[in-house]
C-alpha cells in the first residue's frame, strides 16, 4: 500500500468532511516545483503555485520574477515587465533579473531602459554571455551598431556556441554593409533554439556553391515570404551551376514562382522532393554568391505577375474603382515578429489624404479586421478576403500606381516587380534596408521612410502623406510616380 492509497481510503470513510492535511514545504522547494512546471510548459500550474507563495509572502522576489517569466511566455510582455520591476524593487536582485528585464524593456519599446538594465546585468555578472547579447540587442534598437557589435563579440567570446549572439552579430554587420563577415555569421540562424529547422532530415550536405554537374540540388524557400521573394533573384545564378534544381516552397508562393521560373520543378513539401545530392536554403545564396554591397544583383524587375490573373484583377479593380483614379496599395501590419514594424490602419490612412486617391488594401491576416473601422477620406477597397496567394497579390500590384507598406513580403514583391514602393521602416530596421538610406541597392524602385525616433510612426506617416500630396499635385493619375528621393532621406 502506498501513501496515495492510504489517503484515498481515509477520504472515502469521511466523505462528509474530508480532512485536508497541509504539508509545509520550504519556499525554495515550492519555487523549484514552479520552475519545473514552467520548463514543462505547465504555465497555469506554475502561476497558481506562485500566487500561493505571494499570498503567504507578499513581494517574494523570486516568485515575482518567475511570474514575470510566465507572463512573458504567455505573450504579455507588459505584465511581465511590471512583475520583473516589482521583483527587482525588493532589492539585492541577481543579474538574471536585470538580464530578463533588459529583454522585456526591449520588447516593449523602452530601449534606453533596456540598455540600462542590460548594463546593470553585466555589472553584476560580466561573464554572462546571454546578458551581453541582450544588451547588444538594446544597442541595436537604438542604432548604436558599434556597441551592438562589441556586445555580440563579447558574448561569443564567452560562449562561442551562442547562436543568437552570432545572428545578432550578423545583423549588425550586414546592416552596416559588411556583407563578407555578415553572411558568415548569418549561417548561425539555423542553430538558434526554437528557430525551426527548414533543412530536410538528410545525410546530404548543404551546398557549398560549387557546380554540381550530375546531381540534383534542392533549394528551400526558407524564412518569410519576403525573404523568398528577395532571394529568388539568385535562382538563375544557381541554375548556371546546378542545372538540375528543385525548389521546395510554401503553397502561397507556388503559382507565382512557377510562372517566373517555368523551368524549375516546385514542390510545397520537402518529403516528395525526391533524391537530391545537396540542399541549400534560399537565404544562404547571397553568401555563396559572394554578394557585396556593390555587387548586389539588382535588376529593375525580377518578378512578373501571371497575365491571366492580371487581367482578372484589373477588371475587378476597374469595377471597384473606375475612372482615372490613383490606386495606392497599402499594407500596415505583418506578423508579430519582428516587433515594432507594424502600424495601425487608422494611423496609416489619415484623414488628410489627397483627393483622387483610392487605397487598395492588400493586407492579409488578423489586421485585415481593422478595415471595418476605417472611415478616412480616401475610399478603401478591401481585397484581402479575395486574395488567395502571392500570384493574386502580384496581379493586383500590376494595376496599382504605388504601394505604401511596412517592411513585409508585399514590399519585396512590389519592389521585385519594379513598382514604385514606399516602405515605412522602424528606427532600427531590418539589416537589408541598411543604415540612413532612403533608397535600396536591392530594389531600384523602393523609397524608404524611416522612423527618426524609436516607436514614432506619426512623423513617418505624415511624410508619406506629404509625399502623396506632392505626387498628386505633380503627376496626374496614371502618369507615373516619382521613385527617387533625391539627396534627402524622407
Amino acid at each position: 500500500m502506498d501513501l496515495c492509497s492510504n489517503w484515498m481510503d481515509a477520504a472515502s470513510q469521511h466523505r462528509a468532511e474530508p480532512t485536508i492535511h497541509m504539508v509545509p514545504l520550504p519556499l525554495v522547494s515550492v519555487l523549484k516545483i514552479a520552475a519545473e512546471y514552467e520548463h514543462a510548459g505547465r504555465y497555469d500550474d506554475a502561476a497558481e503555485l506562485l500566487r500561493t507563495i505571494l499570498e503567504a509572502v507578499p513581494n517574494q522576489r523570486d516568485a515575482l520574477h518567475l511570474l514575470g517569466v510566465l507572463a512573458f511566455r504567455k505573450n504579455d510582455p507588459l505584465a511581465a515587465m511590471r512583475l520583473m520591476e516589482q521583483a527587482i524593487a525588493q532589492g539585492a536582485s541577481p543579474a538574471l533579473f536585470w538580464r530578463n528585464l533588459c529583454t522585456l524593456y526591449e520588447r516593449t519599446g523602452r530601449y534606453k531602459e533596456a540598455m540600462a538594465a542590460g548594463r546593470r546585468a553585466i555589472e553584476l555578472d560580466p561573464g554572462d554571455a546571454q546578458a551581453q547579447h541582450n544588451l547588444g540587442i538594446a544597442y541595436y534598437r537604438l542604432l548604436r551598431i558599434d556597441d551592438a557589435v562589441a556586445c555580440a563579440r563579447r558574448a561569443i567570446s564567452i560562449d562561442p556556441t551562442l547562436a543568437v549572439a552570432h545572428f545578432a552579430l550578423a545583423e549588425a554587420l550586414l546592416v552596416q554593409g559588411e556583407f563578407a563577415a555578415g553572411w558568415e555569421e548569418y549561417e548561425w540562424r539555423f542553430q538558434i533554439p526554437d528557430a525551426g529547422a527548414p533543412m530536410p532530415n538528410t545525410d546530404r550536405p548543404q551546398w557549398d556553391g560549387a557546380p554540381i554537374a550530375n546531381g540534383r540540388l534542392l533549394l528551400i524557400a526558407d524564412q518569410g515570404f519576403g525573404d523568398v521573394i528577395q532571394f529568388s533573384r539568385y535562382i538563375p545564378w544557381v541554375r548556371e551551376r546546378c542545372p538540375d534544381l528543385v525548389l521546395a516552397c510554401g503553397g502561397e508562393m507556388l503559382s507565382l514562382l512557377q510562372h517566373n521560373f517555368p523551368w524549375l520543378p516546385l514542390t510545397n513539401r520537402l518529403e516528395p522532393s525526391g533524391h537530391f545530392s545537396a540542399f541549400c536554403p534560399l537565404s544562404g545564396l547571397p553568401r555563396l554568391h559572394g554578394t557585396r554591397l556593390e555587387t548586389i544583383p539588382a535588376t529593375p524587375r525580377s518578378i512578373y505577375a501571371v497575365p491571366d490573373r492580371v487581367a482578372d484583377w484589373k477588371r475587378r479593380l476597374d469595377v471597384l474603382s473606375p475612372g482615372p483614379k490613383r490606386r495606392v496599395g497599402i499594407v500596415w501590419a505583418g506578423r508579430a515578429n519582428p516587433p515594432n514594424r507594424s502600424v495601425s490602419l487608422s494611423m496609416l490612412a489619415p484623414t488628410a489624404m489627397p483627393d483622387g486617391l483610392v487605397l487598395v488594401a492588400l493586407q492579409k491576416g488578423p489586421a485585415q479586421r481593422e478595415i471595418a473601422g476605417y472611415h478616412g477620406r480616401a475610399p478603401l477597397i478591401n481585397l484581402g478576403p479575395e486574395i488567395a496567394d502571392f500570384s493574386d497579390t502580384a496581379a493586383i500590384i500590376e494595376s496599382l500606381e504605388l504601394v505604401v507598406t511596412i517592411d513585409t513580403a508585399v514590399a519585396h514583391l512590389a519592389a521585385s516587380m519594379g513598382k514604385p514602393v514606399w516602405i515605412m521602416l522602424p528606427y532600427a530596421a531590418d539589416w537589408r534596408w541598411l543604415l540612413g538610406r532612403c533608397d535600396s541597392p536591392w530594389y531600384p524602385t523602393a523609397r524608404l521612410f524611416r522612423q527618426e525616433t524609436p516607436g514614432q510612426w506619426e512623423p513617418v506617416v505624415a511624410r508619406v502623406a506629404e509625399a502623396l500630396s506632392r505626387m498628386s499635385a505633380a503627376f496626374p493619375a496614371c502618369s507615373g510616380i516619382e521613385t527617387s528621393c533625391g539627396s534627402r532621406c524622407a
Binding site: 469595377v319 483627393d355 475610399p379 478576403p385
Partner: protein
C-alpha cells in the same frame, strides 16, 4: 344566441354583445358572425392587436371575406405594417378586380409604402370604376402625386376635388400640406384659414397650422396652436404627432428638457396606440444569419451579377436621420444623377428571392442556389428585377447616368447589394450616433423593426446595423465611401467633390445649391433639405446629454470607432 349578440351590438349593449359572442366562440370558434361582432367591439374600444387578430381569424375561416380582408389591410396600414397590409390589399383586388374600394386601398398602401407610382395606377383605376369624379379619390390621387413631386397636377386635383366637395377637412388638410411642402406658405395659410372657418376645432388642421408657423419661424405662435389642440381634446392632452411637433418647437426655442419630455410622451403614446415595440429577436436573428452567410470564404465562391451599361444605382446608405436625404438632394442636383428616393426594391427582393430561385430556404440562405447550374446567373435576374421595378417608376431624368436609392437601412443588405451591383457606388452617410438616435427617437419612424419607440432600442438597433456593416466591410471587397454628415455641414463643397469623384462624375456647382432643387423629398427630412445648410443639427445631442446618459454606454464603442471625440 348569435342573433341576440348581433341585436345587442346594434342596440349599443356592448358588454352583453361581447359576453354572448365570447360564449358562442367558446363552443364554435369559427362562427363568423360572432367573430365579426367581437371584432367591431374590439375595433372601437380594444387594443388594435386584438381587433387585427379577430380579422385574421375571420379570414382564416373564409379567405374570400372581402370586407375583413379590406379592414385588415387598412388596420395594418394604419399601424405601420405596410408589407403585410399590401399582401391583404392585393388579395382584395384579386377577389374584386372591379371594386373601386379595393383599388383605393391598394393605392393608399402603395403610396405609403414608397411605391407611389404603382399607387397612382390603382387610384386611377378606382376613379375609373367609380365614374371618374369621386372627390375623395381625387384627393387621394392628389396626395399620391404630391408624393411623386408632381405638384402642379396634385394642386389641380385638389382644386377639382374641393370644387365637388368643398368641405372635406381631409382634402383641405392634404392641400395645405402640399402647399407647405412646395414652400407656398402664403397659399397654404390661405387654404388653412378657409378650412379652419369650416372646422374651427379640427385638431389635424391646428397641427398643420403649427407646422406652417414653425416653418415660417413663428415658434411661439406654433406652440399656442398646439396648446389650443390640447384644450380642445377630451383629455386635455396632445397625441403622438402633436407631441413630436411640440418637441421640435421646444427644441428650436432652446427648451430642451421640455422637448425631450414631449418626445418621450409621444413615443409612449405611439407604443400604446399601435401596439408595437422593438422586435429584438427577429432583428438579431436576421443579423446573425446574414453574418453567418456572408463570409469571405463563401463569397469567394459566389458569382457576381454582370454590370450593364444601363443607368446604375448609387446607394445612399445610412440609418434613418443620418443625412441621407441631404446627400441625395445634393447629388440629384447634378445633371447626370436622378433622384430615386427611398426605393423599396432591395427589401422586396429579399422576400421574393426564394421564389425566384425555387429555393426551400429563406434569404439569405436561398443565395446558395447560385451554386446550382440553373441559377448561376440568378444575380442577374435579381439585378434585372430591381432595374425593371425602377424603370416602372419613370423617375429617370433625361441624359442621366445614375439614380439614387436612399432607402434607410439598405445597409442591412450590403452583401446582397454588392453581389447584385458590384460596381454601384455605396455612399454610407455617418453622423454622430447620439445625434442619430436622438433624432430617430424624435420622429415617428417605423423603420428598423420598430426600434424607434424607445431610446434604448433605437440605440441597440443602431449598434446592430453598424456591426453588420463592419462585418460586410471585413468580409467583402466593396465600392464603399463613408461620408460624415458633420463634414458636409462644415465643408459642403469638399464633401460633394469627394462624392462625385468617387462616383466618377465631374463636380457641378448646382450640387451646392441643393436647397434650390425643386424636387420634393418625401421623408421626414423634407423641410430641412429645402433650407441652406445649418449647423444646429450638428452635435445637437449636447443639449440632451442628461437624457441620453442611459444609452451612452451602448453607443460609446461605435462613437469611438467612428472617431468622434469623447462624449
Amino acid at each position: 344566441m348569435i342573433a341576440r349578440a348581433v341585436q345587442a351590438h346594434t342596440a349599443g349593449e356592448l358588454q352583453l354583445a361581447e359576453r354572448l359572442s365570447l360564449g358562442l366562440l367558446e363552443i364554435m370558434p369559427t362562427q363568423c358572425d360572432a367573430l365579426r361582432v367581437l371584432y367591431e367591439i374590439r375595433k372601437s374600444n380594444g387594443p388594435p392587436n386584438a381587433a387585427e387578430t379577430l380579422l385574421r381569424r375571420l379570414i382564416a375561416v373564409d379567405p374570400n371575406d372581402f370586407k375583413a380582408t379590406c379592414e385588415l389591410a387598412l388596420s395594418l396600414m394604419n399601424s405601420g405594417g405596410l408589407a403585410e397590409a399590401e399582401l391583404h390589399a392585393r388579395n382584395a383586388v384579386r377577389m374584386a378586380p372591379e371594386n373601386a374600394q379595393a383599388h383605393n386601398l391598394m393605392g393608399m398602401i402603395l403610396t405609403e409604402a414608397h411605391k407611389p407610382h404603382f399607387g397612382e395606377y390603382h387610384y386611377r383605376r378606382a376613379l375609373h370604376l367609380s365614374g371618374g369624379r369621386d372627390p375623395i379619390l381625387m384627393a387621394n390621387l392628389a396626395w399620391n402625386l404630391k408624393n411623386q413631386g408632381r405638384m402642379e397636377q396634385a394642386r389641380q386635383l385638389y382644386v377639382d376635388s374641393t370644387a365637388l366637395a368643398p368641405n372635406v377637412w381631409q382634402t383641405l388638410l392634404g392641400w395645405v400640406r402640399l402647399e407647405e411642402a412646395d414652400r407656398q406658405f402664403d397659399q397654404a395659410a390661405a387654404i388653412l384659414d378657409h378650412a379652419e372657418k369650416q372646422f374651427p376645432d379640427c385638431a389635424k388642421l391646428l397641427l398643420a397650422r403649427a407646422v406652417l408657423l414653425r416653418r415660417t419661424g413663428n415658434f411661439e405662435q406654433a406652440l399656442a396652436a398646439l396648446d389650443q389642440i390640447a384644450r380642445l381634446s377630451s383629455d386635455g392632452a396632445l397625441d403622438a404627432d402633436e407631441l413630436l411637433e411640440k418637441a421640435a418647437l421646444l427644441d428650436r426655442l432652446g427648451r430642451y428638457d421640455e422637448a425631450f419630455s414631449a418626445i418621450e410622451d409621444a413615443n409612449h403614446l405611439a407604443r400604446r396606440a399601435l401596439g408595437h415595440d422593438y422586435l429584438a429577436e427577429p432583428a438579431q436573428g436576421l443579423a446573425t444569419r446574414l453574418k453567418g452567410f456572408f463570409t469571405a470564404e463563401r463569397l469567394r465562391n459566389l458569382p457576381r451579377a454582370g454590370i450593364l451599361a444601363a443607368p446604375q444605382p448609387i446607394f445612399v446608405l445610412g440609418f434613418p436621420r443620418s443625412g441621407t436625404t441631404l446627400v441625395e438632394q445634393m447629388l440629384s442636383a447634378h445633371p447626370r444623377i436622378s433622384a430615386g428616393d427611398e426605393l423599396p426594391f432591395i427589401e422586396e427582393i429579399t422576400a421574393v428571392m426564394p421564389r425566384m430561385f425555387s429555393s426551400p430556404l429563406a434569404y439569405p440562405e436561398a443565395l446558395a442556389e447560385l451554386w446550382m447550374a440553373d441559377f448561376r446567373d440568378g444575380l442577374d435576374d435579381l439585378r434585372d428585377h430591381y432595374l425593371r421595378r425602377f424603370r416602372q417608376l419613370n423617375l429617370m431624368e433625361r441624359d442621366t447616368a445614375w439614380f439614387t436609392d436612399k432607402m434607410p437601412l439598405n445597409e442591412t443588405h450590403l452583401g446582397l447589394i454588392a453581389l447584385m451591383f458590384p460596381g454601384a457606388p455605396l455612399i454610407h452617410v455617418l453622423r454622430h450616433p447620439l445625434d442619430v438616435v436622438l433624432s430617430v427617437f424624435g420622429n415617428n419612424l417605423t423603420h428598423g423593426f420598430f426600434c424607434a419607440y424607445r431610446l434604448e432600442t433605437a440605440a441597440r438597433h443602431y449598434v446592430l446595423i453598424m456591426d453588420l456593416v463592419e462585418h460586410y466591410r471585413r468580409e467583402m471587397a466593396l465600392r464603399y465611401l463613408p461620408v460624415r454628415y458633420e463634414d458636409i455641414v462644415d465643408d459642403p463643397e469638399s464633401s460633394v467633390r469627394r462624392m462625385l469623384d468617387f462616383i466618377g462624375e465631374p463636380f457641378d456647382e448646382r450640387c451646392l445649391q441643393f436647397h434650390e432643387n425643386r424636387r420634393f423629398a418625401r421623408t421626414a427630412s423634407y423641410a430641412q433639405v429645402t433650407e441652406k445648410l445649418y449647423a444646429r443639427s450638428r452635435f445637437r445631442y449636447r443639449h440632451y446629454l442628461t437624457q441620453l446618459e442611459p444609452i451612452v454606454p451602448i453607443l460609446r464603442p461605435i462613437i469611438e470607432r467612428l472617431g468622434y471625440g469623447p462624449v
